[in-house]
Every structure is written in structure tokens, then in C-alpha cells.
Amino acid sequence: MKSEHAAHGSPHVLPVQTYLAVAGALLVLTIVTVAVSFVHFGAWNLVVAMVIAATKAILVALFFMHLKYDNKMYLSIFAGSVLFLALFIIFSMFDTLRRADIYETVGHPIRPNAIIYQQTDSTQTSTGSAVAPVDSTAKH
């Protein structure tokens, strides 16, 4: 729907109602997602929250950012960035979630807590004295 406009004709202008409707929808979705978060669905909370957030994001992208009316290349650039982010997360998780496939002991850290917690609970003898995390004298 890219309307023809001369070099200095009136560019493509959306009616105010569209913007207000979109803003309204975003507010409603915000209220919904907050309300839903109080109900405990366990793991589903994450999925629901993300679906709502995604819809809000699509609304902002299509209307406020004009992707609906602009050259579809920009939509593909935006979608491409999200795709590459998803690939980065998924491929990293092939490792981080599947380390215990063959040996259970390999799957998790030996000392679950960082050393800053070891000083507090003296009961747990810290087997290795990890070097102080950040040596204040270290050169920058």
C-alpha cells in the first residue's frame, strides 16, 4: 500500500485513530500480562508472558515503526535479527542443557555457590581456595 507521492507531496500519513488504537491495545495487554502473572501456572507463566510481550512487540513494530506500510525488506531485516538471536540461544542451549547426557557428575558445578557465599557459611569448607574473584591490585 505504498502510495505514490511526489518528492515533496504529502507522505504516507496514518489517521490518529490508528495510533491511539494501537496504544490502547498495548496498555490493555500490559494490564493483562501483569494480572496473569499473579496467577501461578508454573512453567506456563513464561510462555504466556512471552506471547503477550511478542504481540505487543509486533504491534509496535507494524504500526509505530511503519513496517506494515514500508518496504518489506525492513520487516525481513527485523525478523532476521530476531532469528539470529534465537539461533544463538538455541544452539548455546544444545550445550548448557545437555551436559549431563553421558555422565551425571559432569552436568553441574562442584561447588554450587560462588566464593562470596563461602565466607558467610563457614561450615562449608571450601575445597579449593579460588583466587579472590577480582584482585583489586590488578592492572587495568
Binding site: T105, V106, H108, P109, I110, T127, G128, S129, A130, D135
Partner: protein, 313 residues
């Protein structure tokens, strides 16, 4: 595949080595073929169609079948290589159930090994021949990497996490252990040996080492530990400077610490320097000394203190 090794590969002395070497040479010969093909064709065209000899070119129309062939054939080749490589990798990764388990600890810059019978060694891994050995490794400071070229095995050793590596030696002898992940100043000196012995020798060695130093006087036992536990890599006994201060004449003398305070070197100070080196750091030295907490037993610490006492100027 062989005991003397080939031009490219060192001798193969573990059960998995043969398959890795076979895949290596499979890829090697295909690569030689492809390389010679590409370079020979280029040279031939350089000579045959050089400008003086063929001032004008003749267009050769696009040929899709050629494009398809040199896409499909490489795809098949690499698929074969992938399957073969993956099969070998799985054998490398899954240790047999009855494997003998030895705990490996990597520290800046030496390896220490704890055997089931309580014996511990530093920079020397004694294993029986013909038996699968499973190493449960972790590091005390940075990432190291346990690598034995003759066994074709390698695995990073991570801080605060166990990693597992297994091998079954097929020949008695000594084999070099390298550290293959960069870990600082003495990365290239973090060397150790795998000593593969017969079953009988192994059991005899285990019993002997379960309570080593029983018969020795404390300072003699301390001297053995001084080298056995790798204090030698950083502390000299003849006054020569090293990563850590020399032990010569240190006992009973005053030492300046990094925070400026001074302290007389006595038994408690040496014990504390061994168990919590970071507690009191000697002025002018990096706090790189690892803790020996859990590695040295009290009897061994006393022996080291006795030995250090004997080192008078």
C-alpha cells in the same frame, strides 16, 4: 595401527587411537587428491591458455551438471567423514563400566593424581596396561587441558566442574602428558608422564605408595615431597630466585609481606603458607601459589617443615 608411529602421527598406544588414525589418513588422501587436482589444473591452464599462446578466449557456456557434481560429491565425502568422526568421538567419550577411576587435579602449573587406594602422585600417572582408566578431572584455578598424544585423547580440565576422559593403554612404557589449554607463565612446563606398567607392578606400586615415607626420617620424607609435590617448580633450595621465594635459609628469619608487615618464618607460618598461601603473601611475589589443602596430609606438611628447617645458609 602401529607402534613406531608414522611420518605424521606419533605411535598409537591406546585402543581408540587406531580409529582416529584411520580417519586421519582417509581425510589426508582425499585432501591430497583434491589439492593436486586443483593445483595441477591451474598450472595446466596457466601454460596451455597463456595469453601469448591464446590471444583470444573462447566462451564456454555454463554447465550445470559440472556445478552439481562438484557440489554433490564433496557433500557425500564430508558426510562420510562426519559419521566416522562422530562414531570415534562417542567411543572416546563413553568410558567402559569397569574402568579404574583416578581423580586428576590440575593447578597452576602441575598435575596431581589421587588413586583409589589413597596414594597420591604429582606429575606422574601410574596405570595398568590393558585396563580402561577413567580420569575424573577438575582444576583449582584456570582452565587446563589433559592431552596425551600417544593415546589420541584430550579433554579440558575446568575449574569448579568435573570433566571425564578415559583411555586404555595397549603398551607398557612412559608417555608424555601435555597441558593443551593456555594457563599462563608455565603453561609449557606443566608436563607430566603416564607410566603404564603391568598389572602386577601396578598393584605392588599401589600398596607401596599407599603410605609412602613410613620408614623415612621426617626431613628425608620432606625432601622427597619437595620434588614429588612440585614445590621445586617454584621454590629453589640453593638461593636461586624463582616464581616463589627460595627455601634456603628462610626458616627462622624475618620476611616482609606484601602489606608491609614483617613476620618471623616459623612452623605455623610455613603450615599456613601451604594451606592458605593467599593469607600472607610475601612482598614482591605474585599470589600464584596454589593451596595444597586436601592434597598434602598433615604428616606430609610436618615432613616438609622439617625439611625446610634443614636448609641453612
Amino acid at each position: 595401527m602401529n607402534d613406531q608411529g608414522t611420518f605424521w602421527l606419533p605411535p598409537a598406544h591406546s585402543t581408540v587411537a587406531a580409529e582416529t588414525d584411520a580417519l586421519f589418513y582417509f581425510i589426508y588422501w582425499i585432501s591430497v587428491l583434491l589439492f593436486v587436482g586443483v593445483v595441477a589444473a591451474t598450472l595446466f591452464f596457466f601454460i596451455r591458455y597463456r595469453r601469448r599462446k591464446s590471444p583470444d578466449y573462447t566462451i564456454n557456456p555454463h554447465n550445470n551438471t559440472l556445478e552439481i557434481t562438484w557440489t554433490v560429491i564433496p557433500t557425500i565425502l564430508v558426510f562420510v567423514v562426519f559419521i566416522w568422526g562422530f562414531r570415534g568421538y562417542i567411543n572416546l567419550s563413553i568410558a567402559p563400566k569397569d574402568a579404574l577411576e583416578i581423580k586428576v587435579t590440575a593447578q597452576k602449573w602441575f598435575w596431581s593424581f589421587d588413586y583409589p587406594a589413597g596414594a597420591t602422585t604429582v606429575n606422574e600417572l601410574v596405570v595398568p596396561v590393558g585396563k580402561p582408566v577413567k580420569l575424573l578431572a577438575s582444576s583449582q584455578d584456570v582452565i587446563h587441558c589433559f592431552y596425551v598424544p600417544e593415546f589420541r585423547v584430550k579433554r579440558d580440565v575446568l575449574p569448579n566442574r568435573y570433566t571425564i576422559l578415559w583411555f586404555e593403554a595397549t603398551a607398557v612404557g612412559d608417555y608424555q602428558i601435555f597441558c593443551a589449554e593456555y594457563c599462563g607463565t608455565k603453561h609449557s612446563e606443566m608436563l607430566a608422564k603416564v607410566r603404564v606398567v603391568t598389572d602386577v607392578e601396578y598393584n605392588a606400586w599401589l600398596d607401596a605408595n599407599a603410605n609412602i615415607g613410613a620408614g623415612l626420617a621426617p626431613e628425608e620424607f620432606g625432601a622427597k615431597l619437595y620434588t614429588g609435590k612440585a614445590c621445586v617448580t617454584c621454590h629453589s633450595v640453593d638461593g636461586k630466585p624463582g616464581t616463589g621465594p627460595t627455601f634456603l635459609g628462610v626458616f627462622g628469619h624475618e620476611v616482609q609481606l606484601a602489606d608491609g608487615s614483617k613476620i618471623v618464618v616459623d612452623e605455623n607460618y610455613v603450615r599456613e603458607s601451604i594451606l592458605q598461601p593467599q593469607a600472607k603473601v610475601v612482598a614482591g611475589y605474585q599470589p600464584v601459589m596454589p593451596t595444597f589443602q586436601g592434597i598434602l596430609k598433615d604428616r606430609e606438611i610436618d615432613a616438609l617443615i622439617a625439611y625446610i628447617k634443614t636448609l641453612k645458609k
